[in-house]
């Protein structure tokens, strides 16, 4: 009996100590969305259960290891105890009830993170190896995600190639991005700041570097930024003929993940000095990088592969690049001496 009392007291002491230790260890990043508070609430409940269960097993185990150690020279067996059905039933039923309670809490908090605001703003997200781009309701595209504070946003996400996953640790929520299907990511940012979205699903070679800025601003700052973007986009669109500045935008959206413009070696050939140069191909032949070659390489990436590189799966045309945009891209490439 004495042993049970000691162990009981130790469990009662260790449980809150563990919980206080865990909750003051800054285990989570800052909470930057309404949803993150719900997730952290569930996390705290989980930690309470973890603290108690840890104490419940560890205390009697170490107590036994210390107190019930074999004495030197003792070669006899311990007292013969086969089991106790009442105890077994107890430690089956109580965990069963606990589990059901936690499953209920899990379902409840999941529901809370999914509450939809009918006035939520919709932003389209395009993921591709290895970059993100964001299409705003006002008709322009950016490689940064700007979000207004305290406004629910639904990201309608789709991938151009393989599976990616949208994760901003400060928002807590994560959602995979699939090819051929749109998945939703619903978030209400509530802290102004600069964060990163990083791809959380292994998506090939440069997966580690697939990230983009997420900038949460006040509603007024957001509106100002949108107005700037719209004006810039309209000005750019109004320029007739192939245009290098437009091409650069397209480059940032679709091409930058693999092609460098400063001559550094990437997953795919650099564009610096490309235009007009003679390119050696995988099959041993050579070709001059003129409009026709570049257009063909954009439309059919596997047709002529540069020596030392593999044909990639990404096809810009499937991702939505138009003929006019290809002309813009070529204009941009011409500027890269």
């Amino acid at each position: 009996m004495r042993h049970f009392v000691i162990v009981g007291v130790l469990v009662a002491i260790l449980t809150p100590l563990t919980y206080i230790g865990l909750s003051s260890a800054h285990m989570m990043p800052v909470e930057a969305s309404a949803q993150s508070q719900i997730v952290d609430q569930m996390w705290n409940w989980d930690m309470m259960a973890v603290s108690f269960l840890l104490a419940l097993i560890v205390v009697p185990m170490f107590y036994s290891l210390i107190v019930f150690r074999r004495k030197k020279g003792d070669t006899t067996d311990a007292e013969h105890v086969e089991g106790n059905t009442k105890l077994e039933v107890t430690w089956t039923i109580i965990p069963l009830i606990t589990v059901l309670v936690f499953a209920y809490l899990g379902a409840y908090t999941l529901g809370e993170t999914r509450i939809a605001d009918p006035n939520a703003m919709v932003i389209k997200v395009r993921a591709q190896q290895w970059s993100w781009s964001f299409e705003y309701p006002d008709g322009f595209t950016s490689t940064d995600l700007h979000l207004p504070k305290d406004q629910q946003v639904v990201l309608k996400m789709q991938s151009s190639d393989v599976i990616h996953s949208f994760w901003v640790p400060e928002f807590r929520i994560k959602q995979d991005v699939l090819p051929g299907r749109v998945t939703d990511y619903r978030i209400t940012p509530d802290m102004i700041g600069s964060y990163k979205v990083r791809c959380a699903e292994l998506c090939g070679t440069s997966h580690a570097y697939m990230e983009a800025n997420v900038i949460v601003t006040s509603q007024a700052d957001y509106k100002a930024w949108v107005a700037d973007q719209v004006a810039a986009a309209q000005a750019l669109a109004a320029i007739p003929g192939p245009n290098a500045a437009r091409g650069e935008k397209i480059y940032e959206q679709y091409c930058r993940a693999c092609h460098s413009i400063d001559g550094s070696k990437g997953q795919s050939p650099t564009w610096r000095g490309l235009y007009g140069s003679t390119v050696e191909l995988n099959d041993g032949s050579a070709v001059v990088a003129d409009d026709a070659y570049i257009t063909e390489s954009i439309k059919q990436p596997a047709a002529k592969v540069v020596k030392g590189f593999d044909a990639m799966g990404f096809n810009p045309v499937n991702a939505g690049v138009t003929d006019a945009q290809i002309a813009d891209l070529i204009a941009f490439i011409q500027t890269l001496k």
Binding site: M61, F68, A78, N84, P95, V99, S165
Partner: protein, 618 residues
């Protein structure tokens, strides 16, 4: 030297190489005749179909050429074969075909250890890379390949290690002379060898960058090494399925007289539970990988959205095996813990029937939880709730085990030689694995945790606690049974006391940085996250674990020849295998025994577990 080259292993490998070449040339020839591209410089000379067909034919040639199936062919022709081949004394039998379950068990264990060494070395290489942000010694593609191969080699290694423990022990524990189907048993082991070769060959064929999960569409466009990975797992899967069939048949049909279901040693229950899973679920991983193979080879768009396929379907098929597979790994380990605790506590296993049933409970519930790996995958939203319920339910039978273990320790007379240390370490580490589980199950929190280092820490704790620690305990404990000598205690304790704290540091730090934003499977991380010094300490911890395992290997090989002689019941166990001298005689028990009592009646006098028909063993 000559003996090595004429061994089954060497002949098999040679035939595998021949078969590979024949298969590849065959397809290349057909393609040339049909006017298709016959040579592909970007795919390491041969085209992809030629590599795959060659790989498959190589595996078949290994089986055919090494003589593993020749008895079956003789039977088909109506010829007689000898009932049981006598194995020569000495180490060479481990490289040759043997029908003795003990030899096969050790063969499995040695192959498992070899794969652990290779997979562990890969982990050390990329852990070194991760010690500092930025890329130091690997390219991105090499990082991805080594990380992926680490995963799958450890998994196949564990499956083989599980088979090793089960094969070696189960017939002894149930009082049988051998498994029910000795030739099938040998086949199950040998088919894993070409499987392992196929897996490793992916290194030479461009590697693969998908992780061991091999999700399409990424795996549909990875280098040709991907196909070797698929094929290797497919071939090795046969080992699991057929081995499991054999274990179940043996336990059902070959138990000693009087050994009713609830008088079996508890490890046999674990072996049954694990075999039921392996027998019925392994097909699904083979199938899912085969579908991607066909998608790549034949353009069948199972998982290609452009052709109406669904990439999420793959994840369902894959996890339908790969979640229960975790229980294939840990149930035997938990069985070893339950088996050894009473011996070193000198007290019966608390609640034997509950512990036995909890293994079956875990195995059955384990089939209903697979989609908890997919909470963020984009599967139907509402499915997440039932899968959360079923997942949390696993906690109940797992809890029964923990409580029963603690109750077994309670008021015992506890000794802590090396095997017991690993048992206790296993309980603590598995507890951490278990307790880091529920936050992954309650969906809202998993939305944050999924695909982070938290998960990496969680499953390493689960696998080390549920498999690696008990596996080491089993080796230290049964080594004398296999060799007649015992391993060095001091080295064993150094192994334990180096490995356990390092491992705890490693996984707890994994969980910590995972919560703060460290994603899984990344070759590099943003220095702004401030993880550099965590990663450095984790790398040091990882290398300390490697050092401790090196000490284990020195102890292991040194003790085979120079260990202290131990031919009797050195642990004072009640289990049948310790009632006969070590090393175990060729046919296990010269006299059959009858079960006359309970397996774990420590503390009772005059309550034997088994009685030999005619006692000749003193």
């Amino acid at each position: 030297m000559k003996k090595i080259f004429s061994s089954t292993l060497a002949r098999g490998l040679l035939w595998q190489a021949v078969g590979w070449l024949v298969g590849a040339l065959f397809i290349t020839g057909i393609r040339a005749l049909m006017g298709l591209q016959a040579i592909d410089a970007s795919k390491f000379f041969f085209t992809e179909p030629a590599w795959v067909f060659g790989g498959l034919l190589g595996a078949l040639f290994f089986i055919g050429g090494s003589g593993i199936v020749s008895d079956w062919f003789k039977w088909a022709k109506g010829e007689e074969t000898s009932e049981h081949h006598e194995d020569p004394a000495g180490g060479e039998k481990y490289f040759n075909l043997s029908l003795d379950h003990k030899v096969i068990g050790i063969q499995y264990t040695l192959l498992a250890l070899a794969l652990f060494v290779i997979g562990g070395t890969f982990a050390l290489i990329f852990r070194l890379e991760l010690a500092h942000s930025g890329l130091q010694l690997l390219t991105l593609q090499w990082y991805n390949t080594l990380m992926s191969l680490h995963g799958i080699l450890m998994i196949i290694g564990i499956l083989l290690g599980v088979s090793g423990v089960i094969n070696y022990l189960v017939p002894m524990l149930i009082g049988a002379q051998d498994m029910a189907f000795p030739r099938l048993n040998a086949f199950s082991y040998w088919v894993a060898v070409p499987g392992a070769v196929l897996l490793l060959s992916s290194l030479a064929l461009g590697g693969f960058d998908t992780g061991w999960t091999g999700y399409p569409p990424l795996s549909a466009r990875a280098p040709v090494g991907m196909q070797m990975f698929f094929l290797g797992v497919f071939v090795a899967g046969w080992s699991s399925i057929l081995g499991a069939l054999n274990v179940i048949a043996s336990v059902i049909r070959m138990r000693a007289k009087g050994m009713t279901a609830f008088r079996m040693p508890i490890l046999v229950w674990a072996a049954i539970a694990t075999s039921l899973i392996a027998l019925t679920a392994t097909q699904l991983i083979g199938l899912s990988f085969q579908l991607v193979m066909f998608q790549r080879l034949l353009g069948m768009g199972f998982f290609d959205p452009a052709k109406g396929g669904n990439p999420v379907l793959f994840q369902h098929l894959f996890w339908f095996y790969s979640h229960p597979a975790v229980y294939v790994f840990v149930l035997p380990g938990l069985g070893v813990i339950s088996e050894l605790l009473p011996v070193f506590v000198r007290k019966p296993l608390f609640g034997y029937r509950w512990v036995a049933m909890s293994s079956l409970g875990i195995a059955l519930v384990g089939f209903l939880v697979w989609a908890h790996h997919m909470f963020t995958s984009g599967m139907n939203d509402y499915l997440r709730v039932p899968f959360m319920y079923s997942t949390l339910l696993v906690a109940v039978p797992t809890g029964v085990k923990f409580f029963s273990w603690v109750a077994t320790l309670w008021k015992g007379k506890i000794e802590t030689p090396t095997p017991m240390l690993f048992v206790l370490g296993g309980i603590i580490v598995f507890l951490l694995g278990g307790l880091s589980g529920p936050p992954n199950a309650t969906v809202a929190t998993d939305l944050h945790l999924q695909d982070t280092y938290w998960i990496v820490g969680h499953f390493h704790d689960t696998i080390f606690g549920g498999y690696v620690f008990p596996f080491f305990a089993a080796i230290y404990y049964w080594f004398p049974k296999a060799t007649g000598r015992r391993m060095n205690e001091t080295l064993g304790k150094i192994h334990f006391w180096l490995m356990t704290p390092s491992f705890l540091v490693l996984t707890l730090f994994m969980m910590r940085i995972g919560l703060l934003g460290m994603r899984r499977r990344i070759a590099d991380y943003d220095p702004a996250l401030g993880f550099d010094w965590y990663q450095l300490i984790m790398t040091i911890a990882g290398f300390t674990i490697a050092l401790s395992v090196l000490i284990f290997f020195i102890n292991f090989f040194r003790s085979m020849k120079h260990g202290e002689k131990a031919d009797g019941n050195i642990w004072n166990s009640r289990s049948p295998e310790w009632q006969v001298p070590s090393p175990m005689p060729v046919h296990n028990f010269d006299q059959p025994f009858e079960v006359v009592g309970e397996p774990y009646d420590y503390g009772l006098t005059d309550a034997p577990y088994i009685k030999f028909a005619k006692s000749t063993h003193k």
